[in-house]
């Protein structure tokens, strides 16, 4: 996964139009060999179209896709060195597990005993040993997905494409498969490209994520950067939960900056943002990065907000909504200006959720490195 290696997939200025609808709009990105790459976006953003173009099921209207340095424009799906795990798994219902997994090898004329060995190996890899003679209708959704995985992996593709691989699984199984997929990718060393609309999935599995919005790449970054340093309001809002406030940049120096947000108050940052002075900007503040206090017990507030000048990074409001989620409690707080801000608070002890209740007056503060300034 070094930068010097040639990218395994190069997408160059690719656009795809269906009639008047532009599904993919001038996308360029490189996918490196061996990485777990995730295309993340809301439904209808063009991420699946992009994946299908890599597989060869759609042809780009404009632009070029290179796999391992080779132009794929004229290469049909059955000749591409990639394999796909479909959203419906598309396991062949009239073949048993062995025949399903061995199908690709069989039609490419691999000798019988080699097929047998490779199928056994692939089934072992996806933990389906002992299921050789099962028919797909005798298996659960999760097991069928493993068949689809094995069927693709047995071909030893350069890239494995996965279309919404976990969307049909129940929550527990999904969490387990997230780990297993990441583990599997580590083991086989094949480049994985996954499409998902689920940010948890993207954050937990990916080495890098491309967030797609309306056919364009909104941001391309590793998961933690995506969350902590979103590039724009779309990414900040789509990945995780966030409070966004509009404001004016009043101070911008290399080591500090301040934004005046009419709704929230004065926001101080301990780094520069290199935006034009007086510019219209947005402040993004994650709910878990806001501390909640009962007014009057203000010692903690003053102590914690020390890294900002007086009167900055503080807000007051009234609790209007609460939802207890077990590990955390989510509060909806109406600020003095009338806007709603969301704050989450970990339940570190068993009775933490009892500290606050509806209509409580509370004060909030956040650290000077928590807010993100967004220019678009």
């Amino acid at each position: 996964m070094t930068e010097t290696k040639q990218p395994i997939i190069q997408i160059r200025n690719v656009s795809k139009r269906f009639g008047k609808v532009t599904a993919v709009d001038n996308v360029s990105l490189d996918i490196r060999a061996g990485e777990f790459f995730v295309l993340l976006g809301p439904s209808g953003c063009g991420k699946t179209t992009l994946l299908r173009m890599i597989a060869g099921f759609e042809l780009p209207t404009e632009g070029q896709i290179l796999i391992d340095g080779q132009d794929m424009s004229l290469v049909p799906p059955n000749k591409r060195p990639v394999n796909m795990v479909f959203q419906s798994y598309a396991v062949f219902p009239h073949m048993n597990v062995t025949d399903n997994v061995g199908y690709g090898l069989r039609i490419s004329g691999v000798p019988k005993n080699e097929i047998r060995d490779r199928v056994a190996e692939a089934l072992e890899l996806v933990k389906l040993g002992g299921f050789e003679d099962r028919m797909p209708d005798q298996m659960s959704g999760g097991q069928r997905q493993r068949v689809a995985l094995a069927r693709s992996l047995v071909m030893r593709p350069k890239v494995l494409l996965l279309d919404e691989p976990l969307s049909a699984l129940d929550a527990k199984l999904r969490a387990q498969m997230q780990f297993e997929l990441a583990d599997l990718q580590d083991k086989v060393g094949i480049t994985f490209v996954t499409v998902t609309h689920d940010q948890d999935e993207a954050l937990s599995m990916a080495s890098r994520v491309a967030v797609i919005n309306k056919g364009e790449v909104a941001q391309l970054a590793p998961p933690s950067d995506l969350y902590e340093y979103p590039a724009n309001r779309f990414v900040a809002d789509f990945v995780g939960s966030v409070n966004i406030f509009e404001g004016t940049l009043t101070l911008d120096e290399p080591d500090k900056a301040a934004v005046d947000c009419p709704g929230l108050g004065k926001v101080y940052l301990n780094h520069g943002v290199t935006g034009p002075h007086g510019a219209n900007v947005w402040i993004a503040l994650r709910p878990e990065k806001i501390y909640l206090h009962v007014p009057g017990k203000g010692k903690a507030v003053r102590a914690a907000a020390q890294d900002a000048p007086d009167g900055h990074n503080l807000a007051r409001g009234t609790i209007k909504g609460m939802s207890y989620l077990g590990d955390i409690t989510l509060y909806e707080i109406q600020l003095e200006g009338g806007q709603i801000i969301r704050v989450s608070r970990p339940n570190l002890s068993r009775h933490d959720q009892e500290d606050f209740t509806w209509d409580d007056k509370v004060s909030m503060h956040w650290r000077a490195d928590s807010p993100v300034v967004l220019l678009s």
Partner: protein, 278 residues
């Protein structure tokens, strides 16, 4: 009677009116056939009242060369009409399902026209058509059946196309894409994935085409040459003189033949598969 338990909403079989209704329906459907079969063993030339059991009319029917010839002709026509209808019907259904092209709706509508057009009109049309093109009538067997076979294919293949079309609606296109993704060519994907999915509808379509062809009278009547006769036409000409048990015997053989065929098809495919096809 004394320990009656409540009848649950779906326990229809425990309701008397439901049982009698089913019984009546069955009687309505099968009584004529059963009477026909019973009277094939009737030892009476006029075949109006029961005179005693005999198998002699089966012997007579099987020794009636022109009746046997008509039967062989019918089966031959049905066989070829079924095979060719299956191929054309399946191709038509797949074409209409897969591709988008101008006037698709028109093509689709026109294709099912032979189902709607009254048989008598089709019959007359074929009569005129074969006369106009001067279709040879003196060909050796089985080529002398070609005109009838062609006519039968015309009204059989739309039925096959219809059944296959219905089955295609439940096909997951991703399966075909998966096959191609794994290296299959267009043909291999069709053979290995689409065709197995269509199998129940192909069996159902074949059964439909076979029986439609086997018992067709009207169109066959108009398209048969002077020396070609099929079973239904032969029976018609026999009945014109008198309804002898010989006709009953021949009909019974035909019924048993078709029932056996259907049974084999169901056995081979599984009843579920056939009903899935619709």
């Amino acid at each position: 009677m004394f320990n009656r338990t409540a009848i649950a909403p779906l326990e229809y079989t425990r309701k008397l009116w439901m049982r009698s209704w089913v019984g009546l329906t069955m009687l309505f459907l099968y009584a004529p056939l059963i009477v026909l079969m019973i009277f094939s063993f009737n030892d009476s030339k006029r075949n109006v009242v029961w005179k005693g059991f005999t198998l002699k009319y089966y012997e007579k029917a099987l020794n009636n060369d022109s009746l046997v010839e008509a039967m062989v002709n019918s089966l031959t026509i049905a066989f070829f009409a079924t095979i060719i209808s299956l191929i054309i019907g399946t191709l038509a259904a797949v074409m209409l399902w897969r591709f988008r092209f101008p006037f698709k709706g028109l093509v689709e509508g026109t294709m099912s026209l032979p189902i709607i057009v009254p048989e008598i009109c089709l019959g007359v049309a074929f009569l005129i058509f074969f006369a106009k093109v001067d279709w040879p009538t003196d060909l050796p067997w089985p080529l002398n059946l070609s005109a009838i076979t062609i006519a039968h294919i015309t009204f059989c293949f739309p039925f096959v196309a219809m059944v296959v079309r219905a089955r295609l609606a439940s096909f997951n296109k991703e399966e075909e894409e998966a096959a191609k993704d794994l290296g299959a060519t267009e043909w291999q994907a069709f053979r290995d994935v689409l065709l197995p999915h269509l199998k129940p509808s192909l069996v159902a379509g074949a059964l439909l085409a076979f029986t439609l062809s086997l018992d067709d009278f009207v169109i066959t009547f108009f398209t048969s040459g002077p020396d070609t006769i099929t079973f239904p036409v032969k029976v018609y000409s026999m009945v014109r003189f008198s309804v002898t048990p010989e006709v009953n015997a021949a009909s019974t053989i035909l019924i048993i033949l078709t029932v056996a065929l259907t049974f084999i098809a169901l056995k081979y495919q599984g009843v579920k598969g056939i009903s899935d096809a619709h």
